[in-house]
């Protein structure tokens, strides 16, 4: 009957593990943060530093998307949610605390001759009226339009700025995360896409064949996102369902303070001025 013994033993082990650990955990103060995969690496780094400064505090950061951050903060599954955009009107029940800003810039392949595009040209490219680089002053060749998947906050920002609807866009490639956009454009000399400015600056600087394009005569740079002159930017928010108390309050204050600024820069986002 060794099969039976094995089954029993494994079940027992699991049960014991579950029991033993539940008792061990309640001793320390614990905070759960879930949400946007864009913010998660930053929040995890801030959490590590916060834990060092506050022994006994434990902060678990979980990724999974902005909508998860909203849902979990509402349902109480998480103490704090991470949302990589401004809150919408129907989310007014939540309290939002920005910890950083992130600019969104247009990128092209480095070998593309086109140096600037007007807002109207960008709209024409993204709605499929312009399909060849020759029409906007570049070398002849088909344009590969790279856009973000429906619901993503960078897409919403982009649509809002250019006053477009999601269904207006005629794309050849739809992507998910930021780095996928950079890698897609880097591998296709005819591509155009929009990504987070900080990471694009970093990638372009470390040899990835992409370049950032200015918008409305404002250069796409971290500096212009900080001073607010760059038109496409979004806040990175921590959200809570009620006015935060105790450990949650302490963590949010810490994340917004100057002590976390170097971590924000390390993730190529723009710290808020105190």
């Amino acid at each position: 009957m060794r099969v039976e013994t094995l089954l029993l033993a494994s079940l027992l082990a699991l049960a014991m593990a579950t029991g033993a650990m539940q008792s061990a955990q309640s001793a320390e103060e614990k905070l759960v943060i879930t949400g946007s995969s864009t913010i998660a690496p930053l929040a995890a780094e801030i959490a590590k530093r916060f834990e060092q400064k506050n022994p006994g505090a434990r902060i678990d950061v979980q990724s999974g998307g902005s909508s998860r951050g909203i849902n979990d903060a509402r349902s109480g599954l998480a103490n704090i949610g991470m949302v990589s955009r401004a809150l919408k009107a129907e989310e007014a029940d939540l309290k939002a605390f920005a910890i950083a800003r992130d600019g969104v810039g247009i990128i092209l392949h480095r070998d593309n001759d086109v140096a600037t595009l007007s807002d109207q040209q960008i709209i024409d490219i993204y709605t499929g009226k312009t399909t060849d680089w020759a029409q906007v002053g570049g070398k002849a060749g088909p344009i590969t339009v790279v856009t973000k998947a429906e619901g993503r906050s960078t897409l919403e920002l982009f649509l809002h700025h250019f006053k477009l609807k999601a269904s207006d866009i005629k794309a050849q490639v739809v992507i998910g995360d930021n780095q996928q956009g950079i890698k897609t454009v880097a591998g296709n000399p005819g591509a155009i896409g929009y990504v987070s400015i900080g990471t694009a600056e970093f990638e372009a600087g470390s040899g990835t064949p992409i370049k950032l394009l200015g918008m409305q005569a404002v250069a796409a740079s971290v500096e212009n996102v900080r001073n607010g002159s760059f038109p496409l930017a979004r806040p990175l928010n921590l959200v809570t369902s009620k006015e935060p108390q105790g450990l949650a309050r302490a963590f949010i204050d810490f994340a917004r303070s100057a002590e976390a600024h170097d971590l924000v820069k390390e993730q190529y986002f723009v710290p808020l001025d105190p």
Binding site: T18, M21, A40, I182, E203
Partner: protein
Amino acid sequence: MRNLAPTTNRSSFPIPRDRLVQVSVWSAAAIVAGTFAWVLADLLVQGASRIDWSFLVTAPLKAGRAGGIAPILVATVLILMVAVVTAVPIALATAALLSEFVRAGSRTERSIGLSLDVLAGLPSIVFGLFGNAFFCVWLGMGFSILSGGLTLACMTLPILIRSAETGLRMVPDEWRYGAAALGLSRATLLWQVLIPAAAPALTAGLMLGIGRAMAETAALIFTSGYVDRMPSSLLDSGRAISVHIYDLTMNVAGGDQNAYASALVLIALLISINSAALWLAGKTLKRRITTS
């Protein structure tokens, strides 16, 4: 055996057809090996320089761009252990039921088989969302290694059952008659004869299952989670190595090198698990020979 009929005809022109078969088999093998070498070379070129002892024993820094992967390795192995310990007994038992107790082609066999095939084809992200709702929230395990391991167990179950079933069915019926003639119970037959005889097939299935489990990203982000601290219990959240690789390549600018290095470590881990499994299978096989 209708396929044998035309052979006399064909054997009068054996050379061109046989050459063709030889050439296609060898070139297929070359294509597969070449592609694998291409992927591996890509990983080596980009990641090998990052791997050293400290990469294996230190914690990640700067969101994984610097530092090592020690806590991630530990979490990965723990998740895998939970998955294997839960899935293997259930898989063996189900496979034994299918191959020894249920008539092939019967209604029970077909319905169990169908549900397994559907399970095998469900997108991993569905398992992830299900695991999150069922293990993390409903059973109250939270984001934990336990939830992740159990979710992986669900995912690998179909592969394990299918390969175990095939392995058991391969054992010639003469052995079953022999055991029956000796008056052995079916439990003894199963444990002493069938499972050892099917060990090589079981191992192959286990390797496929473990490979799939280790490669899993979407199912684990929502269950075992994202925390890259060294886990101290099975109820801690722990980041699996594939989740780490995914985060580094898709979310962290400048994380590619460490992602490639982590992928190489993952391959090394697979090689060692594979060797261990082969060694174990060899031992089981030997036990069968000595007992029979």
